[in-house]
């Protein structure tokens, strides 16, 4: 099935052309929250329109209304100038509106082809026509230049490939409007380039693309116009090319942010807090050794699948390691479970807060106390709520966590504040070695700056910090030293403030080739 948009509109951005989509004065309230108030959005055929705003600004809600997941309380939605009512995802798809959700909405146990055509399986009589299903899927993959077997099970694919399956699914609906919610969150540079090629092709065919992202450089690269939202309201629409990033950011946060420059403290005399020697685990971690001093921030850079998270999880005892030693404050420690790691003073902040870091159903207070509950157990085994409350309040003030109270459920906080709650948890547990895995994933610009400030403050207090990040600007902004990984190996250790090019060179160094020649030499 070729990608052919149902619209014959030219790709010109002439304002006199009827917009593909108009959303006017959209209101939406959820119990206790006003998510949207007079929100507006306009999408023309053949444009990439970025939708920006901090978390909770209402971007996703607005797009869920357009794609039929939510229904609006008030306002009007027009498609090609005609007012429409979109009441279900199915109806939106039939109108040519496709959405790629931020949390990948795939069925892991099904094949790629079965996922793409779910709900529209080709049939022969009442039987499924698996042959046609796979042929159609193959055609879509071909049109995307994607090398993927239609019959591969989704659970065996990398996140990036799963993302491509999602895109293929949206394309299969012949969508005229394609909404992408943070499509590059899990992609590496090569994959992003591939995605952008596909976006440009769709654009040339007259598809209108809504692009939600926090990454400024991408917005600049790919989009034609940017609409900014704040607190559920429309702030403005600007052309992407000639609007400075600072302007867009200040529209998003409603104030101007100062970007602190990197200051590298001299920690060469400070004692080593954590040392890893010859860590190994299958193909994921190969002979990794490094150390972090007190007061130092070590960045770990690399492409997706380079093994950074695996190293962190092995140090933390979350995954078993095959060999290797871990030394904390000059003593060798046996770590075979997270419990051992925490006892040794190591805290790990997972990239997936909802799955691993936060008990989303519990309140802020209990989340902070979660790793140190024994401190709050009074006589008779009864939990001392008063003491817990005082401690929680102390951290809420210290880390300026934005929450109505310490009894607020953690899931109701924004991403940045959830991250702070997890940090508070490890601080309370006296963890002096903190490993942050993608600390600002899904966190908006304003909160990002705050998290950076907090990490710097933690280092100044003498804690040893490891930051894993896929965003190079973030690594460069924070790290006093930068370790670069590729295919499970530490391919280099760079001083802070190194160039992006140098990091990328090490991140794409094929160590497997190097290793093979080495072992050949050894055996010879």
């Amino acid at each position: 099935m070729p990608i052919s948009p149902a619209t014959a509109l030219s790709s010109s951005l002439d304002a006199s052309v009827t917009p593909l989509v108009e959303m006017l004065d959209i209101d939406k309230a959820f119990p206790g929250v006003r998510a949207l108030s007079g929100a507006r959005f306009e999408l023309r055929a053949g444009e990439v329109h970025a939708l920006m705003g901090e978390n909770g600004a209402g971007k996703s809600t607005l797009m869920k209304i357009l794609s039929g997941v939510y229904t609006r309380d008030a306002g009007e939605v027009r498609l090609n100038g005609q007012p429409v009512e979109i009441t279900s995802p199915r109806q939106a798809q039939d109108m040519g509106i496709g959405i790629i959700h931020q949390e990948l909405a795939l069925m892991r146990d099904l094949t790629a082809a079965q996922n793409i055509f779910i709900g529209r399986e080709p049939r022969r009589a009442f039987l499924l026509d698996e042959g046609a299903l796979n042929r159609n899927t193959h055609a879509i993959f071909d049109s995307m230049n994607l090398k993927l077997e239609p019959t591969v099970k989704v659970e065996t694919l990398t996140i990036a490939k799963q993302q491509m399956v999602e895109i293929a699914k949206a394309l299969s609906y012949q969508s005229r409007v394609l909404i992408m919610d943070e499509p590059t969150a899990a992609l590496n540079d090569a994959e992003i380039a591939e995605l952008f090629t596909i976006i440009n092709r769709l654009k040339a065919e007259g598809v209108g693309i809504v692009y939600i992202s926090h990454k400024m450089d991408e917005i600049k690269r790919i989009s034609d116009r940017v609409t900014i939202m704040r607190d559920g309201e429309y702030v403005g629409t600007v052309p992407a090319a000639d609007t400075p990033i600072e302007t867009i950011i200040s529209m998003m946060v409603g104030r101007t942010l100062t970007n602190d420059a990197l200051v590298i403290p001299n920690t060469s005399a400070a004692p080593v807090a954590l040392e890893v020697r010859n860590l190994n685990r299958g193909r994921e971690i190969r002979d990794v050794s490094f150390s972090v001093r007190k007061g130092e921030i070590l960045g770990l850079a690399g492409l997706m699948g380079a093994g950074r998270t695996e190293v962190a999880r092995a140090i933390f005892g979350a995954d078993p390691r095959e060999s290797g030693e871990i030394w904390v404050n000059g003593n060798r420690v046996g770590i075979s479970s997270p419990q051992d790691a925490v006892r040794a003073g190591i805290g790990y902040l997972s990239e997936d807060r909802k799955q691993f870091g936060l008990a989303t159903g519990l309140d802020v207070r209990n989340n902070i106390a979660l790793a140190s509950l024994e401190r709050f157990i009074g006589p008779g085994g009864v939990i001392n709520d008063g003491a817990m409350h005082e401690t929680a309040e102390k951290f809420i003030r210290q880390l300026s966590i934005k929450t109505p109270s310490d009894t607020q459920e953690a899931r109701l906080l924004s991403g940045g504040n959830q991250q702070k709650v997890v940090i508070a948890k490890w601080l309370l547990r006296d963890c002096d070695i903190l490993i942050f895995d993608e600390p600002t994933r899904g966190i908006d610009v304003g909160a990002k700056a705050e998290i950076y400030k907090l990490l710097n403050a933690l280092a100044e207090q003498g804690r040893a910090i490891i930051v894993i990040s896929s965003e190079l600007p973030e690594i460069l902004r924070l790290s006093h030293r930068i370790g670069v990984m590729c295919e499970g190996r530490l391919t280099g250790m760079l001083p802070g403030g190194s160039s992006q090019e140098e990091i990328m060179r090490l991140a794409t160094l094929r160590p497997s080739a190097v290793a093979e020649t080495n072992s050949e030499r050894k055996s010879a």
């Binding site: 997941v69 279900s88 995802p89 199915r90 109806q91 939106a92 798809q93 039939d94 959405i99 959700h101 909405a105 795939l106 069925m107 892991r108 146990d109 099904l110 079965q114 996922n115 779910i118 709900g119 399986e121 049939r123 009442f126 039987l127 499924l128 699914k169 072992s519 055996s523």
Partner: protein, 331 residues
């Protein structure tokens, strides 16, 4: 050194992977081998047929449970629904004196209807499957007693009714292999269920629902309708089980039924179907059901006390699931 060990471990993983994938089947073979060595009577045709016959009711119920479990749900009512269907058949055939085909139809329709209700409660009212079918289990247990007046209904007036399970269409053609019809029906139900799961939309959505229900919903599929259809199909299959048990006992025993659901779920789990949904096979369930009956039969032949058979079955369930966890860890 690494160069020598690397390929060795690789093939080692491959062998054990294949072994684990066939774990339930290997387990069944191992049991058969052990029991045939331990007792010469075990592999006698008569005993093999007895094992198969004993598997038929639990096997059919387990297939019903498999469908529901693949969606990520659970059906605790399969046992008492089976009894309810048997009682309905009794009412239709004995009390109302209708002809045999009507009685058969009534059982399957009653099962489908009850499944439809369970499914609707789960899909529309959003009651968790565990609770909805727990309630349904008790409701049907009570209704069976109410409808039958707490007394068994006998099928003495319907000659041929006991032939549904006990007769042997195969035996009338090949007298040397008198496979009972009940066993034939089990394999027929299994074949149809396997076909539905792999070739029809209902099957596709069964797996899709268990894999990621929200994703199915966002794909514009009418999730409620398909979920109800799965429970209704499972209910219809319980109707078949109702016919089998009633035919075997030549009566509808209204007090029977509770406890069967756990045997059925045990067979499903031993057969490798994941309780968290999204994966499972009918063949696996069939093997699971056979393992349970072979164990019971073999231990009985070896004169192991009934109490101990239950202990062994329980241990097998835990072992089977643990083996599955190990398998997934090595992959």
């Amino acid at each position: 050194m690494t160069d020598i060990t690397a390929p060795a471990t690789k093939s080692g993983v491959r062998i054990s992977g294949a072994f684990h994938r066939l774990l339930a089947f290997s387990g069944l073979i191992a049991l058969v081998v052990v029991f045939s060595i331990a007792s010469p009577n075990f592999m006698q045709t008569q005993n093999v047929l007895a094992i198969l016959q004993a598997t038929s009711v639990n096997g059919v119920l387990a297939i019903a449970a498999t469908l529901v479990i693949i969606t990520g749900g659970i059906d605790l009512s399969v046992g008492t629904l089976m009894t309810f269907c048997a009682v309905i058949t009794g009412v239709v055939l004995t009390n109302l004196g209708m002809p045999l085909p009507i009685g058969i139809l009534a059982s399957i329709l009653a099962g489908t209807f009850c499944g439809l209700i369970s499914g609707s409660i789960i899909a529309k009212l959003k009651v968790p499957p565990f609770i909805a079918t727990l309630g349904m289990m008790l409701i049907l247990k009570g209704l069976s007693l109410v409808v039958s007046g707490t007394k068994p209904i006998y099928f003495n007036d319907t000659p041929g009714f006991n032939q549904i399970a006990l007769g042997s269409a195969v035996g009338s053609i090949f007298p040397s292999v008198p496979v009972p019809n009940g066993v034939l029906i089990l394999f027929l139900v299994a074949a149809i269920a396997a076909f539905v799961l792999s070739k029809t939309a209902l099957g596709r959505y069964t797996f899709a629902l268990g894999s990621n229900e929200e994703a199915v919903r966002l794909s514009g599929v009418n999730v409620d309708r398909w979920k109800i259809a799965v429970y209704a199909t499972a209910g219809g299959i319980c109707g078949v089980a109702g016919l089998l048990i009633a035919s075997r006992l030549n009566s509808a025993q209204p007090a029977l039924g509770q406890g069967y659901e756990l045997d059925a779920i045990a067979a499903v789990v031993i057969g490798g179907t994941s309780l968290s949904g999204g994966r499972g096979t009918v063949v696996g369930t069939l093997i699971g059901a056979l393992i349970i009956s072979v164990l019971a039969n073999g231990l009985r032949i070896l004169s192991v006390a009934q109490e101990w058979q239950t202990v062994v079955t329980g241990s097998i369930i835990i072992l089977a699931v643990y083996a599955d966890i190990l398998r997934r860890r090595t992959l």
